[in-house]
């Protein structure tokens, strides 16, 4: 698989480490009343869809950026790649 890195261009997926569902970007509020339950869901439950999956890839053998990749789990085809930092900023986060 080739991942089209937004800064570095097309890179072999073997340079990356897969980090799972991109829902992990949205960590629950640790002060919420039901924080414990939310963290169990966050840590252990997954949607695991057959079809488009939005996921995190870490460019470990490259520039160490985290990418948010949309990939179809039935074909391995990649339809979108963004920097995770851009995605987080787009959701109003500062870093």
């Amino acid at each position: 698989m080739i991942i089209n890195h937004p800064i570095l261009g097309p890179r072999d997926s073997a340079e990356f480490t897969y980090m799972g569902d991109a829902a992990l970007l949205d960590r629950p509020d640790w002060q919420a009343k039901d924080a414990l339950l939310q963290f169990v869901d966050y840590g252990y439950l997954r949607d695991n869809p057959a079809g488009p999956h939005i996921e995190l890839w870490y460019h470990e053998q490259g520039d160490r950026s985290f990418l948010v990749v949309t990939r179809d789990t039935t074909t391995h085809q990649i339809s979108s790649v963004k920097l995770a930092s851009d995605v987080a900023r787009g959701r109003g986060r500062s870093k």
């Binding site: 569902d21 997954r46 695991n48 869809p49």
Partner: protein, 416 residues
């Protein structure tokens, strides 16, 4: 019809006209006591033990394709019970004992071959870990033998014990481990279950559940609605996809694992050997092909096919310990979808929905578990209490911090 040597002789002399289909081809009935979804090894074993151990009468196995078309027909066929943790080892040892008596029990030649499995050790720390594991196995009634480098060299002269990076420092052997003809396991259980009245319904895909007031009443299929008093999901790599139809999220990700077969060779490899420094395991089939595999590709997949980096990695593992394989050609390779759980251990439990049960999360070690999985799942379905060997395989272990994490990898399914 009972199979026997005499029967084979008789059929040979009479033009093989007496053989009958090994199971009936039936249309689904409107209502069953038990509906088992998924005609893989685990689903078929579950149906068989429901009928055999618990006298269940109206049992159906619904399979979306043909039985044996899933992982039960795609794996590298290794069976063993060399686990460390209390939650696992008694279960897998029970499974190995069931394998030992399976052919007589189901009257089917599953080519169970206890040719032994050897896990190689490459460092002092690994020897300590394997010694501990061997002791845990012995405490649970399994067999284990720690071998020195000299013994290994004598028994397996083709191994490269002096690899500069990963010298072989010993090994942990389980002589009762080995291989089983995987397709025959599906066919044998199907035939035995069918003889006890179980309906095995192929080309019947479950497309949804009928759930009312928190209770599961039956399943929607491409062949119509089927009512079931108890509905048992048992679809391995498709678990996430199926349970989403009951609005359940699981502690499971689906990943692709590849397997490989070489061209046929004369007997070169006695038993199963695993490389302890990378991830590579290998045995030789009775036809002569070397059957081997390695790591998952490492990302969510339902594609049933993998990519090239893993092929390279697996072949490197092979060359590190078996330099003699350098000129052997690869014949075939394929992939299967693994239900990788968050701690690397399975789940056999009821769900929060009444009458709906779940079996899955087998990762890539589920073939060896087939008999015990069916045995314990049938027990849970029939009695509504977990079997004593499967009490740890619960859904709530993640919330309670009682993970069964053999490798200590945490909630990274692709690393288990």
């Amino acid at each position: 019809m009972r199979y026997s040597g005499l029967r084979v002789l008789k059929e040979a002399l009479t033009g093989h006209k007496g053989w009958k289909p090994a199971w009936r081809d039936v249309a689904p009935q409107a209502h069953y006591d038990y509906i088992v979804i998924g005609g893989g090894g685990h689903g078929l074993a579950t149906a068989y033990y429901l009928a055999r151990n618990h006298g269940a009468k109206r049992v159906a196995v619904l399979e979306k394709g043909w039985i044996g078309g899933g992982n039960v027909g795609r794996n590298t066929t290794i069976v063993r019970s060399n686990y460390l943790l209390d939650g696992n080892e008694p279960f897998y040892e029970h499974s190995l004992k069931l394998w030992e008596g399976l052919e007589q029990d189901i009257n089917y030649n599953a080519m169970i071959s206890q040719r032994g499995i050897l896990n190689l050790v490459h460092s002092d720390a690994q020897r300590d870990a394997f010694t501990r594991r061997g002791n845990a196995m012995i405490l649970n009634g399994a067999d284990a033998d720690l071998l020195s480098t000299e013994t290994i060299q004598k028994r397996y002269p083709f191994l490269n014990v002096n690899n500069a990076r990963f010298p072989i420092k010993g090994g942990l052997a389980q002589y009762r481990g080995g291989t089983v003809r995987h397709d025959a396991v599906a066919w044998g259980y199907a035939r035995a279950a069918d003889q006890l009245g179980v309906d095995i319904i192929q080309n019947c895909e479950v497309t949804g559940f009928r759930i009312e007031g928190g209770k599961c009443l039956g399943v929607e299929t491409n062949r119509g609605y089927i009512k079931g008093d108890k509905v048992a999901s048992c679809v391995a790599g498709s678990s996430g996809r199926l349970m989403a139809k009951a609005s359940m999220r699981l502690p499971i990700e689906s990943h692709v694992l590849q397997a490989f077969v070489s061209e046929g060779l004369k007997p070169v490899l006695p038993g199963v050997i695993t490389f302890g420094a990378g991830h590579f395991y290998c045995s030789q089939s009775d036809k002569g092909g070397l059957v081997f595999g390695g790591d998952l590709d490492g990302y969510n997949s339902y594609a049933q096919r993998g990519n090239l980096p893993v092929v390279e990695d697996v072949c490197e593992g092979a060359m590190a310990i078996f330099p003699m394989l350098g000129r052997v050609r690869l014949l075939r390779m394929w992939g299967g979808i693994m239900d990788m759980s968050m701690d690397g251990s399975p789940i056999i439990d009821h769900t929060h929905i009444e009458s709906l049960y779940f079996n899955g999360g087998w990762c890539y070690g589920g073939f060896k578990a087939t008999p015990a999985s069916g045995w314990c799942y049938a027990h849970l379905l029939a009695t509504d209490t977990p079997h004593e060997f499967a009490t740890a395989f619960r859904f709530d272990r993640f919330a309670k911090g009682q993970m069964i994490d053999e490798k200590g990898m945490g909630n990274n399914p692709q690393l288990h």
